[in-house]
Amino acid sequence: MPLAVWLADHTIQNVVAGAVLLGLVSGVLGSFAVLRQQSLLGDTLAHAALPGICLGFLLAGSRELGVLAGGALLTATLAALAVQALVRFSRLKTDAALGSVLSLFFAVGVVLLTFIQGRADAAQGGLESFLFGQAAATLRSDLWLMGGVTAMALFLVTLFWKELKLVTFDPLFAASVGYPVALLETGLTALIALAVVVGLQMVGVVLMAAMVIAPPVAARQWTRRLEPMVALAGLFGVAAGVSGALISATTPGLATGPLVVLAASAIVLASLLLAPERGLLWEALKRRRDRRALADERLLATLYGLARRHHDPRYPAEQGMLDAYHGVGTRRVLARLAGLGMVRRVVHMPNEGAHWELTEAGQRRARADLSRAEAD
């Protein structure tokens, strides 16, 4: 199919637009959740949307996304309140509260789902697509709703930017200068519920958590400032959403959620490994470089010290003795230094092991290292 025809396709257009909205809203709002170490709250809220979807369906009698989303928002918010109540008023810790509320709200959703399926009236089909998402089922009218919610969420974040930033990084200070911290925290939670609602159609309730967590984690790798992090998280979210949704929409039988999540996970993996400064690959390389430099320096210092004690700048040291000095094999380090022209292999006594002496360059380098160490 030529690209132009493909892009003109209504389904494709809808899917791409939906994925853009989803990625944007979940990346931006997820940033705050991840930074506040509330990543798993997103998981609980997403699962808790299921009973709301079913209630919405029972109320509207059809698969009207507006009503379903309203129900989802309601139960997700209820779940957030339930978690808060359990943590504040009982001895359960956050993890147990999150797990209980997640599974119990989902259980209620399952019960309602089977209740709906058990009734005779038609039009109950398609509710299960909210479990794993079905991008291809996105309608134009759904996009208006998703767009509206996204716009509202982004507007609120922009409006309260300073407050949200302060509450995220230093809630105690925020409270001491008189910000309504509890209110702002509740507001952030409600915003995550909004993100979940946008993701219902595309990713589904089960995997939505990953969309709230993965893009911000990836974005955090590339920057240490909140503004670019939020922007990047939105961008990564959009990239993951669009690629996953397009594959799903063009390949029959593949649910969207898993594809989007795998795309997001790939972005995280690449960012963890390759991001400048914080990338694990660069860190590993740097560690290797440092280790080698240290080994070189120590070996040159040993050779130089031996030469000085023997009043012979070209004192031939036996390799076995060097091994003993350092407690490890020095063969590789010696070979590397020889390659750099710092040491030279010499024949001292024919029947003994290899002997090494410092070259001119090696002596200079050892002297420089030693005087630097003394200066420090």
Partner: protein, 375 residues
């Protein structure tokens, strides 16, 4: 007896639910106390990948190979999460939230791609089909026993022996891992064993209840029990009791309403949690409020006693000043006064209110604690 059990689908279903609940509550108690509840959620999702991979490799849908695959998937989840946390680029909660959705998504995708003809589909993975467990049977000692019962029975036995035999070690590793380590009990190995058993239990249960409801069976009954008792032994037993009762009541409710049996069982565990949260004897919300109220009334009695003592020192006998001097409403003054009389702190004399000896003692003890004779 066995024959009657096996002939009745309802009994098989309830028994399956009870076994799932018992096996998972045994482990859940420790997961909650170690604050690892969300790892149970992560593991139960990740085993889907294990199940699909094992199925693709061996074409076996259940049995020992599947349990092994699940154990490996569980270990992989925990190991990957720890690996991510150890890079110090990702906090532990985000690490959990990154690993299990990725593994789960991969599992679901593989299901979508290759496993169309297998009975395991997305629907079963998520929701389970406890209503059909009695259909798939295997012959044992001349009886056709449902496979789920066999495997769940085995897993329950393993979990129970694990907890029973290593109770002391588990208890120590849970409450004081540093001491456990110092005494040479290898708490890390125990922790891994616990998570491996959680994975095995999850794979034995998921056909019946699905991966998400499994979390309810693991966490909710012990959580309810945790709100009711301070002793580990009782917490475990209470958790099992909640799970057993939930399976039975959930089944009855589900049949009556014609809805998902597994879902209803989980919902009933939630009702138990709610009841424990509200009405628990010591940690329940109501008990807490009542305690707070008592404390407040007690404090107000002392305030009155101190007020009267001050008045006494100034040679007054107040009745009115309760509402003036202490700025109390009439209703409040009446309530406090009644409480004070009940405890014999104040008495009425001709001029008005006066302290009893006990009331004077209480007020002095508050004002001048250093003068009170010890004992």
């Amino acid at each position: 007896m066995l024959a009657t059990l096996l002939a009745d689908p309802g009994l098989v279903i309830v028994t399956t639910g009870m076994l799932v609940g018992t096996a998972s509550s045994l482990l859940g108690a420790f997961l909650i106390l170690r604050r690892n509840s969300m790892l149970a959620d992560a593991i139960s999702h990740s085993i889907v990948l294990g199940i699909v991979l094992v199925w693709l490799l061996t074409r076996q849908q259940s049995g020992a190979v599947q349990l092994l695959g699940a154990a490996l998937a569980g270990i992989a989840t925990v190991a990957l999460t720890e690996l991510l946390t150890r890079t110090r680029k990702v906090k532990d909660d985000a690490a959990i939230g990154l690993v299990f959705p990725a593994l789960f998504a991969l599992g679901v995708l593989l299901l979508n791609l290759y496993a169309r003809d297998v009975h395991v589909d997305q629907h079963t993975v998520l929701l389970g089909e406890i209503g059909f467990v009695w259909l798939r049977t295997m012959p044992i000692l001349g009886h056709e026993v449902p496979q789920a019962l066999v495997w769940l029975g085995l897993v329950t036995t393993i979990n129970a022996s694990f907890v029973f035999l290593l109770f002391k070690e588990l208890k120590l590793a849970t409450f004081d891992p540093a001491l456990a380590h110092a005494l040479g009990f290898a708490p890390a190995a125990l922790s891994y064993a616990l998570l491996v058993l959680t994975s095995v239990t999850a794979v034995a249960s998921f056909e019946a209840v699905g991966v998400v409801l499994f979390v309810a069976f693991v966490i909710v009954p012990p959580a309810a029990a945790y709100l009711l008792t301070d002793r580990l032994e009782r917490m475990i037993l209470l958790g099992i009791a909640v799970a057993l009762a939930s399976s039975w009541l959930g089944y009855l409710a589900a049949v009556a309403l014609d809805v998902s049996i597994g879902g209803m069982m989980a919902v009933v565990t939630g009702l138990f949690l709610l009841a424990a949260f509200l009405a628990g004897p010591r940690y329940g919300l109501i008990a807490r409020l009542v305690r707070q109220r008592h404390q407040r009334l007690h404090d107000e009695c002392l305030a009155l006693a101190v007020h009267l003592l001050t008045a006494e020192n100034q040679g007054e006998h107040p009745r009115k000043p309760l509402t003036d001097g202490l700025a109390w409403t009439d209703a409040r003054a009446t309530r406090v006064l009644a409480e004070c009389r009940r405890h014999g702190l104040v008495r009425d004399d001709a001029a008005g209110l006066a302290l009893t000896a006990k009331g004077r003692g209480a007020a002095r003890a508050l004002l001048e604690p250093w003068r009170v004779e010890p004992g």
